[in-house]
Symmetry: C2
Amino acid sequence: MEIIAMAIPRNFGIRVLETTSTSWISPSKFTWNPSRKRGMIKMAQTEASPDVIKELSLSTGTYLIPHPKKVETGGEDAFFVGGCNGSVVAIADGVSGWAERNVNPALFSRELMRNVSLVIEEEQANFDPVILLKKAHSSTTSMGSATVIIAMLERNGVLKIASVGDCGLRVIRAGQLVFTTTPREHYFDCPFQVSSEANGQTYRDATVCSVQLMEGDAIILGSDGLFDNAFDREIVSTISDIKDAAEAAKLVANLAHNHSKDVNFDSPYTQEARTMGYDVPDWKKMIGKKLKGGKLDDITVIVGIVSANSRSSSDNTLKLDT
Amino acid sequence: MEIIAMAIPRNFGIRVLETTSTSWISPSKFTWNPSRKRGMIKMAQTEASPDVIKELSLSTGTYLIPHPKKVETGGEDAFFVGGCNGSVVAIADGVSGWAERNVNPALFSRELMRNVSLVIEEEQANFDPVILLKKAHSSTTSMGSATVIIAMLERNGVLKIASVGDCGLRVIRAGQLVFTTTPREHYFDCPFQVSSEANGQTYRDATVCSVQLMEGDAIILGSDGLFDNAFDREIVSTISDIKDAAEAAKLVANLAHNHSKDVNFDSPYTQEARTMGYDVPDWKKMIGKKLKGGKLDDITVIVGIVSANSRSSSDNTLKLDT
């Protein structure tokens, strides 16, 4: 169904780019078009009416690509998709620094996700990602630490999110990014992380938020391997026409994986690094070089597509990758 | 109160910047420091324990700087701070394009905010920003349109947000950005907007989300004049040591205002414009020029600082700028 939505641009014509600069706008890039004056826009109608409460559920797809040097062991990311209609999705990313203490970084993240699956089974009714994280973490006995994100979809469409560190979540609506989580770190490349250590971070350090989803929305969860290597605008355009969650997850993971191997890609990771003051030596800067390249890492992607009143029995399977 | 929190960096030493590039890290910018190996970090303890429910409230400060050409009329932004302990904060930004139809763009935004204040008074108990927006919009009779954001703080610390367009909200915790809203637009510089037109956007088009606040958090609401001219990292550093909400709002507004007048500033607005394909003509690019400069605009900033169990009668005043 389509509606005609009316919108007035902030400014009309050439003033659409009214900066304080005296620079000109390239005529090849911007042409004054009188038809914009009324801003008549056709847009897809994807919003569910708040007056009509629909039961929403997720159709999910997952894809994990390990770090190229960790293919045999499967990497250190772990994820969980479960609950009624895949209504609980979670990713844990084992902190690789533990390897230097001869601790396998995958053990903690995998056990944490396994414990999420157990807590969910025990207490299906307890619909709070913070409590789920608290219980799963407290029952994890492996040494190590992990960044973690847990998201739970209520049937009224509210997606509740708890995140510790730099796993992330995006919501895409009608081809546009409408919601994003914000990563949290102690300093560059040292994220908040739940830990086996008594004085580490816990559920109390989680960023807790929620977002009202609508029929047709897509949610994308990822470990930092996704968001360090792919820009949001790339993720949006990659899945904009994809209706199948599994296909979307594969495409997004491959997008990030390909960037991660590209030594010339100016990745989100290196852009952030430069903002934080890291760069190539000055003599390289003088010849036009800069810090660039993707970041090799485990890459986990979960895509959920929101549908209304369409709960199928095949969605009730519980998947656990550990 | 301080705690010692333990964190393990993703990778140790020089590998903290392990990109796929062969570029070197500047020794002047990064020095291997064995003390990072354990990542012992002192961090401020600002998190309230989820086990102890505190009553949270906002101490608010506001600052509005009109577009330099609209100083005499006060510009087209309007805002509202009210409710018990300033627990409802809102900004509306009148869409300037209406001026070309001989409609004063300020009328709609000002009436919308006035109606928010009336609906709040009538139905204090109805604590839903979407319903508040719906009722305020439906009772607005002026011709025009506006972007709008409404945020309401519940005493348990949940900040409920409804936003149509590109007004925005940030949450800063312990000196770090932890939450951000995402603007929504039809195309570059044409935001979603509630309108006097029957086929325009309404509350149904709002992005609806919430975030759990904690004692000591700062929230920053702004019209697009703020976020088009100031980067999040600048906003964070500007208010990091400021305890007074009014002083923080003034500092942040002046930061954006100064950038807006700077023809050489590479603003968020021009960076976004270049990403969307707008730029100077090719011949200027060839001599190293690019589209830059701030964006002259009305700039409204509301800062709220979250405190626990400290409701003072002086916070109960209702402020309305129309």
